[in-house]
C-alpha cells in the first residue's frame, strides 16, 4: 500500500540589483538577504553557531548507478562561510544561497494546502528579508522575483520533492522506467496546462509569441541527473534525505513557479495523487507519449494542441489530465489507501479547471474569447495572458514589444507595490484558497504532521545548543560531544509524537535525555 506523499518545494528567486556598481554581486546580495532575515528572527545572536550539514548531499549520484565525479558541496567546511550562505528557520525551512540565487526550501508537508501555504510563507520571508536589506544596506536596492527565466536564455528552478516508497521508486524509475513513461510522464508533461506560469516569447521565434510554461523549453532529457543543463523531465538524483531502505525522494525540476494559489494547489495535490495511484498500481491506462520532449514543447506553445501517444492516439493536455483526474476520483472512492489531506478539494479544483479549459477559447492573436470557468482568476498563464492582452489593447502593442517581457517579469515581483500578480489579487481578480493568517502561521511555525515539526521546534527553542541541521538530522552540541538526533522517517518527529517531550524539556540537555529514555 502506498505511503503518504510528503511534499516539499525549493524555489530559487531571481534577484535584480540597482545597476551601476559592478562590485555588487547577486551572490553577495543573496547572502546579505539571508543574514538580514536571520538577524531579524534572532539567529545571528552571539552563541548561535548552527550550520547546514552538507554531509548527506550527493547531488551527482544517480539512482540508476554511476556518478559524474563533480564536487558535492561538501568542500564548504568553514563554518563562517556555511552560516553566511545558510540559515535554518524555526518553521522547519531552509533559506540559503544556491549559486547566485536566494533559495527557499519549504519544510516537509503532508497536505498540498500546507505546502502551498509554506511556499507563500517563503515569499513573505523573502519580502521581509528584502525590506530589511534595502533599509540596512541601501546600496543594493534589490528586487526579488518568484519566476524561472530572465528572458536572456537563463533559467532557475522551482523544484518539487515527493516521498516515494523505496521499492516502488526502484521499480518504476530504475528497473522498469517504462512504467514512468506510461503513467507518470504523460501527467507531468500535460500538467503545465494547469500549472504553467506563462512566458512572453515575443515575435520571430518558433511557434506562438506566448507560451504557457516557463520551464518547458529548458527541458532537454527525459531522465537525467543534471539540473543546470540537459535538464530532465524526471531527475534521477540519488539523494533521498531519509532512510533509503524505506524511502526515496522523487525530485522534479520541470515545474514553474506559481503565484496563483489554485494553480499551485492543483500542481502539488494532483501530483501527490498520481504518485500515490502509481504506488498502488491503480493506474491502468497506458498513456505513453510518442515523444515526451516534443510533447512538452507542443503543449507549452499551444494549450489545446494534440500530442501523439505511442499507440497512435492524439490527445491534448486537458484530455490527458482528465484521464488522471477521473482516475483520482475513482481512487478516492475506492478507498485504496490513506489519501492525502484535502484530496477531495484537490480533485474538485482539478476538475473545475479542466471543465474551464474545455470551454476556454483563444482568438487568432491570443486574445481570450471565452473563459466561462474563470481560469483568469485561477491559473497563472491565463491571468498573465489576460493582463498582457489588456495592456496590448490599451497601447496598441504587437507581441514583439519589449514592454511585454518587462510586464511578464514584473508579474512575479514579490513586492506588492511592483507586482502585477499581487495588484490583480488586490483588485479581487484572483480566487484564493488561503487566508493571510494561515500563510503567516507557516512563516513562523512548522507543519505539525512531519519531521519538520521537531526540527523547527528545536531551532525555535534551543538555537544555541544546535551544532548542525539538515533534512534528516538535528545535531546538538552537548558539551564534549555532538549528539545527533536522526530524522530518517519524514512521517515521524510530528507534534503528536514530540510535543509531550518538548513540553517537559526545560533545556536541550533534558530533551536529549528524554529522547534516550534517561529522564
Amino acid at each position: 500500500m502506498s505511503i503518504p506523499k510528503v511534499v516539499g518545494l525549493e524555489q530559487e528567486y531571481a534577484i535584480k540589483l540597482k545597476p551601476g556598481d559592478e562590485n555588487l554581486t547577486a551572490f553577495d546580495a543573496s547572502n546579505a538577504l539571508i543574514g538580514c532575515y536571520a538577524r531579524e528572527i534572532g539567529l545571528r545572536e552571539p552563541g548561535v553557531r548552527m550550520i547546514w550539514d552538507y554531509g548527506h548531499e550527493t547531488p551527482f549520484q544517480d539512482i540508476r548507478g554511476g556518478e559524474n565525479g563533480k564536487s558535492t558541496g561538501q568542500q564548504i567546511v568553514d563554518p563562517e562561510e556555511n552560516r553566511r550562505i545558510n540559515t535554518c528557520l524555526p518553521n522547519g525551512a531552509r533559506l540559503y544561497t544556491d549559486h547566485a540565487h536566494p533559495e527557499y526550501s519549504t519544510p516537509e508537508c503532508r497536505g498540498a494546502l500546507d505546502a502551498l501555504a509554506c511556499d507563500k510563507a517563503g515569499e513573505r520571508i523573502l519580502l521581509q528579508a528584502l525590506n530589511s536589506l534595502n533599509r540596512d544596506l541601501p546600496w543594493y536596492q534589490a528586487s526579488l522575483y518568484k519566476n524561472n527565466i530572465d528572458h536572456q536564455g537563463h533559467s532557475f528552478g522551482s523544484h518539487e520533492n515527493y516521498l516515494i516508497e523505496a521499492e516502488a521508486h526502484q521499480d518504476f524509475l530504475v528497473e522498469h522506467p517504462e512504467t514512468a513513461l506510461r503513467f507518470l510522464l504523460p501527467f507531468l508533461v500535460s500538467r503545465q496546462v494547469l500549472a504553467g506560469a506563462g512566458r512572453v516569447a515575443g515575435a520571430g521565434g518558433p511557434g506562438r509569441p506566448y507560451k504557457i510554461s516557463q520551464r518547458a523549453e529548458f527541458m532537454e532529457a527525459v531522465f537525467g541527473l543534471e539540473t543546470m543543463y540537459q535538464r530532465p523531465l524526471i531527475n534521477t538524483r540519488e539523494e533521498h534525505h531519509a532512510d533509503p531502505h524505506r524511502f526515496r525522494r522523487l525530485h522534479l525540476i520541470l515545474g514553474d513557479a506559481n503565484m496563483c494559489e489554485i494553480a499551485g494547489f492543483i500542481k502539488l495535490g494532483s501530483t501527490q495523487l498520481v504518485l500515490q495511484m502509481m504506488e498502488d498500481g491503480f493506474l491502468k491506462e497506458d498513456l505513453a507519449l510518442a515523444d515526451p520532449l516534443a510533447a512538452v514543447r507542443i503543449i507549452a506553445d499551444q494549450h489545446d494542441a494534440a500530442v501523439e501517444l505511442a499507440d497512435g492516439r492524439r490527445l491534448n493536455a486537458a484530455q490527458l489530465q482528465q484521464i488522471y483526474c477521473r482516475a483520482a476520483e475513482d481512487y478516492l472512492r475506492a478507498g485504496v489507501a490513506e489519501t492525502p489531506p484535502q484530496a477531495e478539494l484537490v480533485v474538485q479544483c482539478w476538475q473545475e479547471a479542466l471543465d474551464g479549459l474545455a470551454a476556454f477559447k483563444l482568438g487568432d492573436d491570443l486574445e481570450i474569447e471565452e473563459d466561462p470557468g474563470d481560469l483568469c482568476g485561477k491559473l497563472d498563464w491565463v491571468l498573465k495572458l489576460w493582463l498582457l492582452n489588456r495592456f496590448r489593447a490599451v497601447k496598441g502593442l504587437a507581441w514583439g514589444a519589449s514592454q511585454l517581457k518587462v510586464l511578464d517579469l514584473q508579474y512575479h515581483n514579490i513586492e506588492p507595490g511592483q507586482s502585477l500578480f499581487y495588484r490583480a489579487q488586490e483588485q479581487g481578480l484572483v480566487k484564493r484558497l488561503l487566508n493571510d493568517d494561515r500563510i503567516e502561521h507557516f512563516r513562523q511555525h512548522p507543519p505539525e504532521d512531519t519531521r519538520a515539526y521537531f526540527r523547527g521546534k528545536c531551532i525555535e527553542r534551543f538555537p544555541r545548543d544546535l551544532f548542525l541541521v539538515n533534512w534528516e538530522i538535528v545535531g546538538f552540541d552537548d558539551g564534549e560531544v555532538h549528539r545527533m538526533v536522526p530524522l530518517l522517517n519524514p512521517l515521524k518527529g510530528t507534534k503528536r509524537l514530540c510535543q509531550p517531550l518538548l513540553e517537559r524539556a526545560q533545556n536541550a540537555q533534558i530533551l536529549l535525555a528524554l529522547l534516550q529514555g534517561e529522564a
Binding site: 530559487e12 531571481a14 534577484i15 535584480k16 545597476p19 547577486a26 544556491d98 549559486h99 547566485a100 540565487h101 530572465d150 528572458h151 536572456q152 537563463h154 533559467s155 532557475f156 528552478g157 523544484h159 539540473t227 543546470m228 543543463y229 525540476i253 470551454a359 482568438g363 486574445e367 481570450i368 474569447e369 471565452e370 473563459d371 466561462p372 474563470d374 483568469c376 482568476g377 489576460w386 493582463l387 492582452n389 489588456r390 495592456f391 489593447a393 490599451v394 519589449s402 514592454q403 517581457k405 518587462v406 510586464l407 517579469l409 514584473q410 511592483q418 502585477l420 495588484r423 490583480a424 483588485q427 479581487g428 481578480l429
Partner: protein, 64 residues
C-alpha cells in the same frame, strides 16, 4: 475589447455576440471599470519605473 469581456466573469457566448454588435464594452459596473482602469495605470507605472534598460539589467546567472 475581448479582454474587457473576459473580466466580466461568466460572460461567454452572449458577451461575444455583443462584442460584434457594439465595440464598446460592456456589462461592467462603474466600480469594475474603475478597478480595470487602475490596473492599466498600474501596469504603466510599473513599466515607467522599471525603465528602458530593465531587461538588460535583469540578467540572471543560470540556476538549477
Amino acid at each position: 475589447m475581448g479582454q474587457m469581456q473576459k473580466t466580466s466573469k461568466g460572460k461567454t457566448k452572449k458577451a461575444k455576440k455583443k462584442k460584434q454588435e457594439e465595440p464598446a464594452p460592456l456589462e461592467m459596473s462603474p466600480g469594475q471599470k474603475k478597478k480595470l482602469k487602475e490596473l492599466d495605470e498600474f501596469m504603466e507605472s510599473v513599466l515607467s519605473e522599471a525603465g528602458e534598460e530593465f531587461l538588460d539589467e535583469f540578467k540572471q546567472l543560470e540556476g538549477e
